[in-house]
């Protein structure tokens, strides 16, 4: 392995990494938001909305991610919806991650027992007060481990966006290989960089989890 070559390629890789992180961060933020709203809608009791959310989740889970990306980048323009490569990437990654975050938060909501509702109702708390003070924190805690899983997968799945020409980390590596044929150096480097990103995120996740699981457990 030629470390000098890796060093020489590093500035390029860092530029790619920057795009990877920006796209991932936007998608993580938006998908968590959509996940929460979607999960609430799915339990809202409003039938058309419930069906719409369920259909969305099933569509995303049931179709290949790469096809979804192509659908958004190549398909939507013919319907009059044209986005830049960057925003197509953000939309595709968000659309994919949202479906899984909806399911994560739905599981979190289901983990809040009916006893909490009884307690709040008997104390006279309003529905919105119960939702904000009780359901939201408890559901978030329950959903956190699987939500972290999806967040990590979101970062990794940003690599697919090289297929539509987004100049992120994987794109840079593949691009350089096309000129210099240093496949092992480039793929090894980006693997290490992805690993560092993922470890940082899961580390943060464990910290949040530990902080949230102050005496808890039990009922």
């Amino acid at each position: 392995m030629d470390f000098a070559y890796i060093l020489e390629a590093l500035p390029d890789l860092m530029t790619g990494l920057k795009t990877t992180l920006i796209v991932s961060f936007l998608a993580i933020f938006l998908s968590c938001l959509i996940g929460l709203v979607g999960a609430v809608l799915r339990k809202s009791g409003i039938k058309p909305l419930q069906y719409a959310v369920t259909a969305y989740v099933e569509f995303i889970r049931g179709t290949p991610y790469l096809v979804q990306i192509f659908f958004i980048f190549y398909g939507l323009p013919s319907l009059g919806l044209r986005f830049s490569i960057f925003w197509s990437g953000v939309i595709a990654l968000t659309a994919w991650a949202s479906a899984f975050q909806i399911e994560n938060f739905r599981a979190g909501l289901a983990a809040v027992g009916s006893g909490m509702h009884d307690a709040s109702a008997s104390l006279g708390l309003k529905r919105w007060q119960h939702s904000i003070f009780i359901i939201l924190p408890l559901a978030t805690r329950a959903a956190l481990p699987s939500a972290m899983n999806t967040i990590v997968a979101t970062v990794k799945n940003s690599a697919y966006l090289q297929a539509i020409g987004l100049v992120e980390l994987t794109f840079v590596a593949v691009d350089r290989i096309a000129y210099d044929f240093r496949a092992i150096e480039m793929f090894a480097s980006i693997c290490v960089i992805y690993l560092i990103c993922v470890f940082t995120i899961s580390g943060l996740g464990y910290m949040v989890e530990r902080r949230l699981s102050r005496p808890f457990g039990g009922r």
Partner: protein, 256 residues
């Protein structure tokens, strides 16, 4: 007719809770049949009966955690309807303690006790905390205010739940099998707290199998079976001389 008019029209200050001809179904299963029960202010009523007899469902109807389909339920002069304002008013007067405590696990005992006073009644934080500490003192866990529920024993959790209810200054307290989830050695402390509350004059409706408590505290014991009230009697009479055969069969099973 507004809720207020209803209130003045039917106000009988002596009567805390009145159920008349109450029927309830869970889809096609009828769980309450023509339930009639009057609880006077300051009265302590113990409800017992085999599992599935409708005891819990009946008391959950009193603060509208369950909706009855027929008959009338009047609490402190207010008839329960599905109007949210009416429900809110009734719930202001009625506190409830549950089998599984239902404390909020992510809040400290003190926060559990101050949440509703602050947000429902608009009590200032400082005042709500002072009130909560006073009630925690009364249920004898003043030193647990800053602990989380999972750090407490079952008995302490249930006493915290009682304090949380009392912080809303209810006129009536409902207890739904408050000691059934406790280890045997922790039952006493909860029953003592309830007995103390009773001696302070609280109106209480308790679903419980603690017959010692019924003897000691109850003014009346209500026996339910298969969704009906079978027998109502003062405790001495109820235990010494039950009239109905189903009551006799039940008592012979639990008094060993």
């Amino acid at each position: 007719m507004t809720a207020n008019e209803k209130k003045s029209e039917m106000a009988d200050p002596e009567i805390a809770v009145e159920l008349s001809g109450v029927d309830k179904w869970f889809s096609i299963l009828q769980v309450l049949h023509d339930v009639n029960l009057t609880v006077r202010c300051g009265e302590k009523v113990v409800v017992c009966g085999p599992s599935g007899s409708g005891k819990s469902t009946m008391i959950r109807c009193i603060n509208y955690l369950e909706k009855h389909q027929k008959g009338r339920i009047v609490v402190n002069g207010t008839e329960l309807t599905d109007n949210q304002k009416v429900i809110d008013r009734v719930r202001q007067d009625v506190g409830m303690v549950f089998q599984n405590f239902n404390l909020y696990p992510h809040l400290t005992v003190l926060e559990n006790c101050t949440l509703a006073p602050r947000w429902v009644k608009g009590v200032a934080r400082k005042d709500a905390e002072a009130l909560a500490r006073a009630y925690l003192e009364r249920v004898r866990i003043p030193d647990k205010a800053d602990f989380y529920p999972s750090q407490l024993s079952g008995g302490q959790q249930q006493r915290a739940a009682i304090a949380r209810s009392l912080c809303m200054s209810p006129k009536i307290m409902l207890f739904d099998e408050p000691t059934s989830a406790l280890d045997p050695e922790l039952v006493r402390e909860v029953l003592d707290t309830m007995a103390q509350l009773a001696s302070d004059g609280m109106t209480m409706v308790c679903v419980t199998h603690e017959m010692g408590f019924a003897r000691q505290v109850a003014d009346r014991v209500v026996f339910m079976d298969a969704g009906r009230i079978i027998e109502t009697a003062p405790p001495e009479e109820f235990f010494r001389n039950p009239r109905e055969s189903r009551t006799k069969a039940f008592l012979s099973q639990i008094l060993h």
